[in-house]
Amino acid sequence: MKMLRNLSCLTVLLSFFGTIAFASGHGWSLKDAAKPYEGTTVDVVFLLRPGYEAIEAMLPAFEEETGISINIIKHPYENALGEQVRDFVAGGDLDIALIDLVWIGNFAENEWIVPLADVQAKFPDIVDPDLDIDDFFPLVLNAFGGWDDIVYGLPFDNYSGLLFYNRCTLEEAGFDAPPETWGDLKDVYGPALTGDGKYAFALQSKRNETQSADSFARVLWPFGGSFLDADFRSNLNSAESQTGLKFRQDLMQYMPDGIVAYDHAETVNAFSQGDVAMITEWSAFYSTVVSPDTSKVADCVEIAPEPKGPAGRKPALGGFSLAVASQADEAEQAAAYLFIQWATSKANAREYLERGGVPARQSVYMQDGLENFKFVPALVESWQDGVPEFRPRFAEWPEITEIVQEWGTKIMLGEVTTEEGAQEIGTRMEDVLEAAGYYSGDKPLAQ
């Protein structure tokens, strides 16, 4: 590891000098590259999340250097898709698409976004020679930015599911380490940590994307289940998927009442108030749970990768890439590309990380002095190997997620059994896929 780190330092150093040499040799600089596009305004949708605040804080440097201004339109996550879809349908003002991994099939198939290579071919002068696309975690680049083997977007706001645990509570109960498997979490840690108004675990399950991404999918994969089989038929009634869904029902006894109304905010809050000992949440919440302003347990927070299931460690995967919009005019496309390239660059990754963002650059995590970011080892481990289709990424996801959200919460509430619920989701999901033409062979089975 040490050698690796030294080696990587060397690489960073080399590439640094390399860049300078290259820059002086070929004269590439952001300033010069942006010259023709000075005065261009780029419109982009941002969320109200830490990674976006981080880049916003860094933005003045970019605008100063390039003369390009970035017009940020802020939306909460739940509105961001609708807002962008309407804009693209109407041929609106957005020059950059902010793409959650589950939206990419949709955006790509509608040709609302331009493949990265096309932009680069069109404007060769704006491509940073130090772009180093291989430096992105391959899983992340592929899942967040790629569709059908074509890269559209560069990973920008990146998440992996992590296990946040309250070391103090665990130690009091006699545990010196977090659970290694989901089974242990339920059978060993669950009973020991639940009681007196305290709960072992909370799984955010509110009826929106949280239900399908954070709750439903999270119990499918580790148990060997999945949404679809190889023929794109529902796999939710398979023994493995059912084991996972039943596990969730069983685990609810160690969660607070009304967990179906918990979104991220409620879950993180329950953890920060010390009411819940463990949560599986996105890496981006790190800053919230360790800040004394928002957390009563700041000193006790530790982080581990998500527990393993019978099918291995299959942590939740989520995150956003930025891609150039096809509706933008030439100058806007070039300016948009320059911004995306800058925001996700190797050179800016460290500052982005320190300001609360989570970059997807492998190089930055090999640097020294990251001890304060306790989530890094678990994050890097989670991104080595994961399931890109953790939630299917095809164009039909927005419709399917609504179905999963409705019946997923009904299952949790006990209004239907796991089998009935899975059956309902399966039938409705297959209807959507049928209408989309997957079964008639009109469409390739890509997710």
């Binding site: 109200l48 909460p76 509105n79 108030q273």
Partner: protein, 272 residues
């Protein structure tokens, strides 16, 4: 009748009514003065050190001020427009005889019942083609769909409550219909006009769905802003309540000023 014994139940009832109406408002205001940690205290605290930070942040950092101004412009314009279009129409419906009058009246009222969800997307696409997205005028116009019916409904009833003898007399003296409406009937129908103005203002000020879909930044309305803090990631309760308070206060002032008219104008066709 007014013996003390008969008064007590009344007093208790009134106090209960006032408490129930005011308490949520009180709770909104006090929560808006709490920091996030205090706001999440369980059980909730009633006495705490108030802070205005939420208001400063909301108004000046997050741009709530601009959305309040937008809402004000839109609500006032659409109210005035509804009155200009609605009052003469109401006068005609109350005073003139013509074929299809009932159907016309019913058609006006029906517009009040159309769910915004029906019109939102078509309106979005039309507005986009005309370059009218994110403009105040778009909302002013679409708010007519629910304001004009309420104006016509209430004001028609008011006009009908005014005796004919008055305008007959004026007509014999040679006054035109416009003069009769403006000089004779309108002053007497003022309570109804005032009430419909209040309702137009309240409905427009409070509208969310169109505001969400048809605006983005320049014309973003205050309710759309309040909802946009609801990122599932983090719920800044104090700030949400501060924004809510800022939204409720202007319309409250407006409604309180006019509250005397409320009762006189809401007769809804109960003519003497």
């Amino acid at each position: 009748m007014n013996s003390a014994r008969a008064l007590w139940p009344q007093i208790i009832l009134l106090v209960v009514i006032i408490t129930v109406c005011v308490f949520p408002f009180y709770w909104m205001v006090t929560t808006s003065l709490k920091t996030q940690i205090v706001a999440l205290e369980a059980p909730p605290v009633w006495l705490f050190e108030p802070t205005l930070t939420n208001y400063f942040e909301a108004l000046f950092e997050d741009g709530v001020l601009q959305t309040l101004i937008n809402s004000l412009i839109i609500a006032i314009c659409t109210t005035i427009l509804s009155l200009i279009l609605g009052v003469p129409a109401a006068f005609a419906l109350a005073r003139f005889e013509f074929r299809g009058k009932k159907d016309l009246w019913f058609w006006f009222i029906t517009n009040r019942m159309v769910s915004p969800i029906v019109l939102a997307l078509p309106f979005f696409l039309i507005a986009r083609n005309l370059g009218l997205l994110d403009k105040h005028v778009t909302l002013v116009l679409i708010y007519l769909t629910f304001n004009l019916p309420i104006v016509i409904w209430i004001v028609t009833d008011q006009f009908r409550g005014i005796p004919y003898d008055l305008d007959e007399a004026a007509r014999l003296e040679g006054a035109s219909q416009i003069t009769i409406m403006l000089k004779i009937c309108l002053p007497l129908a003022m309570p109804g006009v005032a009430v419909s103005a209040i309702f137009s203002f309240i409905f427009s000020w409070n509208e969310l769905m169109y505001g969400l879909i048809l605006t983005r930044t320049d014309a973003k309305t205050a309710p759309a802003m309040a909802v946009s803090f609801m990122e599932g990631y983090n719920l800044p309760y104090g700030k949400i309540m501060a924004t809510s308070t800022l939204i409720v206060i202007p319309v409250l002032i407006f409604a309180l000023i006019a509250s005397k008219q409320l009762v006189r104008g809401l007769t809804m066709g109960a003519v003497k």
